[in-house]
Amino acid sequence: MTDDSKTVPAFAKAGPLRDFAAWWGPRPLAQVAVFLAVIALFYMLASNTVASMARIGISPGFGFLDRAANFEIGESPIAFGAGDTYARAILAGLLNTFKVAALGCVLATVLGVALGVARLSGNLLLSGLVRWYVEIVRNTPLLLQLFLWVALAHALPGPRQALVLFDAVFLTNRGVFVPRPVVDGLPAWGMATVVLVLGAWIVHLWSGRRRATNTPRRVLVSGVATFIALAAILLLAGARVAVEVPALAGFNIRGGASLTPEFAALLAGLTVKFSAAISEVVRAGILSVRAGQWEAGRALGLRDGQIMWRVVLPQALRVITPLTTSNYLDLIKDSSLAVAIGYPDLVSIVNTTANTTGQAFEALLILILVYLAINLGVSALMNLYNRRIALRGEAPA
């Protein structure tokens, strides 16, 4: 590493070639040899695979994506029936993964922040309880927790004896039924105005962030104003807005949004597992801000809430954000355990595809590329956010 001069061939003239040689580093030929060895290894494995596929009569390629898939999918955000293409089946699986991962991230964050704050609350009983929750959840496998959640979901009573929470949430062995907002009879112009108002509010918040003028009160005021405007539009347009609450009708439950037992179990498992991780991150982030910051805030006459909001949290977020990012990425990856409990996520569909078509290599390649794309996308987004909060804190006043 320090013996560059010995091994780098000296390019006398300055230019791109010399820049490249400097970047490429010492022992250039040995490095090329390593590259070639890796390529040769992959070539050997790939040619073996192709030969094996030929032996069992499968021709490599992605043509199978257009063929009809003769299986049903338990649940899907897009319509899917036996006879649709494999491409559509994989898309349905991907959307299922997105659905559970997105909801899981939101719920785990909400629960995790609440638990982190509870852990720091200073109440011995509550923080002790949260501590043991975190220890137990963190030190048992996610798959085991999922198995327990599924067993629990299937052990729930039937619709007629459903467990009912607040007369609105029905827990049954056929799934979990929750209320759902419904908007009826909204004309196109009303829809357009709603989008416009919401867009204006988001732009307002965004520019407020830019100029650092978003205080809790301002956000609240603009939020209430937006809400009133939206209500007025809906009233003027004569739209009916209601919350559809599920209710027992005959032998089943009607209305509301229904979650299948598998989806509910997976969502509960991911939420619980990652809320524990996120609560630890939140706790570590807040504790990483030195006590002197609190004392300085008090010396300036700020109230505790103000110190938390304006002094501690902005600094804590710098610790919290990158760690939460990796929690989100882990959550997305771990949603693949769906395959073990029968929720049709991407991995589950890809596995079925590989088994029914024999195109295991192509199917797994799709799986790997999709997960890499998701990973890079989330990392890029969170990096963007991270850079914003880092800059805001570090810029000289």
Binding site: M1, T2, D3, D4, W23, W24, G25, P26, R27, P28, Q31, V32, V34, F35, V38, L45, A46, N48, T49, A51, S52, M53, R55, S121, G122, N123, L124, L125, L126, L129, E135, I136, R138, N139, T140, P141, L142, L143, L144, F147, L148, A151, K333, D334, S336, L337, V339, A340, V347, N351, A354, A360, F361, L364, L367, I368, Y371, L372, N375, L376
Partner: protein, 363 residues
Amino acid sequence: MTAIELAVPRRMARPPGRALTTLRRGLFGSWLNGLVTLATVALLAVIVPPLLRWLVIDATWSGSAADCRAGDGACWAFIAAKIRFILLAFYPAELQWRPVLACVLMLGLLAATALPRFWRRELAIAWPAVIAACWLLMAGLPGLIAPVSSNQWGGLPVTLIIWAVCFASALPLAVLLALARRSNMAGLRLLSVAYIELMRGIPMVAILYFAMLILPMALPAGQSMDKILRAIIMIALFWAAYIAEVVRGGLQAVPEGQREAAATLGLGYWRIMQLVVLPQALRVVIPGLVNQAIGFLLATSLLAVIGIFDLLNAAKASAADPSWLGFYDEAYLVVAAIYFAFGYGGSRYSLWLERRLHRERRD
């Protein structure tokens, strides 16, 4: 330095005999605090009694499945009847001393590795030796020890062996990857970054499917490989990427001056790494590696997805026995307790080790 400043006042702030005051202040220090305490007690009052009734009071401790079905609580009689199956799965009963001995050897090795007193060169020899002995015990040796097909392996020894073998073989690869990622040779750096990011980007389930579906096809024609061995190879390659990132953190913590000083003494790259940089870097990351290893132990439960009878899958299969059908909760709770013992014990150990290493560095 900061550890002293933080630790000393805290210890002095709590003189002995004041525990009751601390407790009172912690529970009812203010109005809000008192309310929180009451709300928490109310929550516990809802959760704990039914749980306790199911776990202990209404539980059936002995008897048959019919006795259990008559009762309302947990069926611990099921555990008493099936614990051998949960721990050893389908391994032939008359040969069960072999997996038991393998477990004992493995746990002994782990215990010895955990004690800094045993951190000597011999340990590096003991690891492959014990792993080979365990494999021999499990598989047998045609002609000498009755062979047992890996299809019959299961339970705790499978979990422990796969975990230990994968971690031990991933570690050297991880060190090489971490060194390559910090090297000034761009080609090696590129390869290492691509490998690490690829592996860390995909879920472990995909790796296991790869071991099941692709690896058999990628072997030369006519060759075949044991299912557990295939899983071990792919998992070790997968974990190496994660361990490499931990090791890289340690390499970054070694000051540049150390390497420069070693280079001035005329040492070459590998001697510098072996004698100067790696001993310091690895020492820093041992607690991190322990935490990583705990995560990996929990992750071995994913082997159930590809039909290997690890501890979790054995528990699942135990409740599928027709004469004891459906006591899944009890089986899962027992293996959860085993995983928890390893996980909690491991994280306590990691904290202890961190303090100890910190102290050594300061001296």
